[in-house]
């Protein structure tokens, strides 16, 4: 097993951290430029702010799920893969718990 495989241990939580940075940054940018006040008819009246935040969340959720699925295939191999697999599951759960607020909480107040 190559040293690079050590990085797998943090793969799931790296996706979580990227989601965190992206959501926090884009939330601030959206509030700064008033995207919360821009309702989009084609998105059922959702604001541009909420739409972009939901999109970022879902993209990262999909990325986190992909990491879990990739590691699932090798979860029986050696020592690091099962650890990386369970860490990725924990990270996916953490993502849902941390960021689900993008669906219903007020964005810029």
């Amino acid at each position: 097993m190559r040293p690079r495989s050590l990085l797998l241990l943090g793969a799931g939580f790296t996706v979580w951290a990227m989601a965190f940075v992206a959501l926090y940054a884009m939330l601030s940018v959206g509030c700064r430029f008033g995207w919360d006040d821009t309702a989009l008819d084609m998105a059922g009246g959702l604001s541009l702010q909420r739409l972009q935040l939901i999109a970022i969340f879902l993209v990262h959720l999909a990325a986190g799920a992909a990491v879990v699925m990739l590691l699932r295939r090798r979860r029986g191999e050696g020592f690091l893969y099962p650890l990386a697999y369970f860490a990725a599951i924990a990270a996916l759960g953490a993502s849902v718990f941390s960021f689900a607020g993008v669906f219903f909480l007020s964005a810029c107040q």
Partner: protein, 850 residues
Amino acid sequence: MSRETPQDRQGAAAAPPVNPIRLHRELAALWDTPAGWQQLGAVNHTILGKRFILAAFFFFGVGGLLAMLIRVQLATSGTAFVGPEIYGQLFTMHGTVMMFLFAIPMFEGFAIYLLPKLLGARDLAFPRLTAYGFWCYIFGASILLCAMIAGVAPDSGWFMYTPLSSSTYTPGINADVWLLGITFVEISALSAAVEITVSVLKVRAPGMSLARMPIMAWYLLITALMMLFGFPPLILGSILLELERAADLPFFDPTRGGDSLLWQHLFWLFGHPEVYIIFLPAAGAISMMIPTFARHELVGYRAVIVAVIAMAFLSFGLWVHHMFTVGIPHLALAFFSAASGLVAIPTAVQIFAWIATLAAGRPRFDVPMLYLGGFFFIFVVGGLTGVMLAMVPFNWQAHDTHFVVAHLHYVLVGGFVFPMMAATYYWLPHFTGRLAEHRVSKPAFWLIFLGFNLTFFHMHLTGLRGMPRRIDTYPVEARLDWLNLLSSVGSFVMTIGFALFVVDLVVHMRFGRRFRRNPWAARTLEWAMPTPTTSYAFASLPHIEERGDRLAPDAEGARLAAGRGYLGFTRNGWMETLGVDMVGGRPDQLIVLPRQTFLPLWSGLLTAAMVLCLLAKIYWLALFAFLAVVVSLLAWTGATGARQDMGALPIGNGASARPHWETEAPPSWWAMVMTCAAEATLFSSLLFGGLFLWLVAPQWPPARPALPDPLLAGACAVLLVLAAFAGRGGLAALLQQRSPALRLGVCAGAHGGAALLFALMAASVPVPTAHAHNATALVLLSLCGLRAGFGALLAAYGLWRWHAGFLSAARSLDLRIGRVWHDYAAATGLIGISAAFVFAWLATTGGTGS
């Protein structure tokens, strides 16, 4: 581990029998540090680990004394014991000393002392770096201590919030002492982080794969990685604030496009992971002690590793819970609140693993377990109030009150001090070779435990009744007298307990019974050696075939002392240990460590001189001191490497390995990778700062945005890419047994040219003092220039090593280390140039206005 391996049999058949006494004498002659002044040149991990621990304990006493003075002041309403100016210094220094001069160095000391012994190595990867880190710590701490004695200690709180710490409101030297002194101490922390990370990954006993590492090594590895990424934001913040104070660059001044909140973000980006950086090593020690006393291996070894990884990441996602009241949007608060609550889960996983280990085993009671009982109670209370504070509505009510003071003390004293006292009792026999009677230990514990709760439990109540933090007095009408008086009485009870603890240690060291080996019947490797330990730790290195907490140290110790492991001999006057394949633990290199030297002391003294020059605002002299530091660090390299190829050398047990300078990825290569990672974090924090100010700060856009000259920027980018390719070309030429000189010369020249162009671009930034945008551009370009300058130095160094005969196709390490930096400097330089243009463009598109 105790089973005989095929290599053992081969080695036993081939090697002549070793006389353990003679082996000891030969190794001691190499590894021992001579007495007298020569002790100042010590680089040995056992000596330096003890020094770190003793120094940290001294500063614990200093911090404790300051706490006593605080409690005297707050004992009753309207006390005139000290005035508000002195009180400001007292609570600032108490927090600063406890966090930076006690907790982190104490954990570093334990790690430095224990890690090689746990991993089956003779020393850490970079002994001189350990020594340099120690001197930086001592000199930096001395600056803070001297300032306190002179009455000019920092007084803006241990988190130095701006604008209070800015020159307008703190015009004296007080804040500079903190910013420069703490940055100095952080050099020590970062060097320890690199040292620990690389040592755990590379410097282990043969056979010790990652799956077989003792759990403490996992904890220390993850903690060190957290330090690598956690400390740079604070170092950047300190540099920016010092630049604001010294050169009027307005990063935190809202009247000129800066923002005080930027300081809070940078500080807590470090400050909250710091809590876990302090807790995790203590948790590692708990995970070592509980299995020993439960007489059962740690339950959930893998689950604990996953939990620690989760904690490490989550701890970087909750810094804003210190800033819930500053006006951040609710949704963002929800992110940080959720992460703050989530971190309780991996903490609970560890606590349940410890309880399960006790439940599954046959626990026996001893003094360390008493202190661990104290830890369980106090830390769980602190954790519960932590979950309360993670909830935004409650946090708004309790923010900046004594409730928070109570919480943080329950977490930090519960999560660090009690486990460290347990660890002291557990490993003290290892330090001293003596067993304690423990007659005073129990009363000491009860006084500390009861005194602690009497002191801090009542602060929950005073906090809930509205008593703010950091006030030097309160009115009698607030009806807080009795609760505060009880707190003060409790603090004195606790101090008596700590005094008894010290007495107990002294009695132990003076009168404890001597023992032969492993008094707790532990199953980890550090007990497979004579105690007190020898300077070389292991007379020969073990081959590990079991997990690190399933070993038989008694049997193995005798075998290793008889030289029946790896490297059970001496040669060439070398101090040797083994490096292994990072994941699998197969020995892949012979690491030759540097001998005792005064160079780290000189480098530390010169660094101290530089800091003092900055403090005295003699900047031209500081520049000379900086150059002297660089020269002194380069002088370290004189003793490394060889002028001829050696090939694989026997390492015992029929195996062989190349010396580390002839291998693909020795510790020094990994150290450069880790250094780049830390520097990248600092650089990212600066980019974050630039974007944050544009997005949030008032008084934007700037009158004259700092747009770099496109021609200069383009030429600079070309030179950076050229330097990277020339660095790679030099290495390729060397590997093909051709001269790398020309390419290295081009690399040095291109880096030098890029550094010059960066300097020109930085110099052309219009009025950096006028606006935070311009100041950010100046720092951004200067940082990129510094990186390029360092690249030129590394290329020139490679050139010198080539001419001095240290390089060949087999000995290409210096150039490979250089290549990492050349690539990194080019990549980050290009990002820096792009960021300068993006910032200028953003500045022209407007900001938040006034």
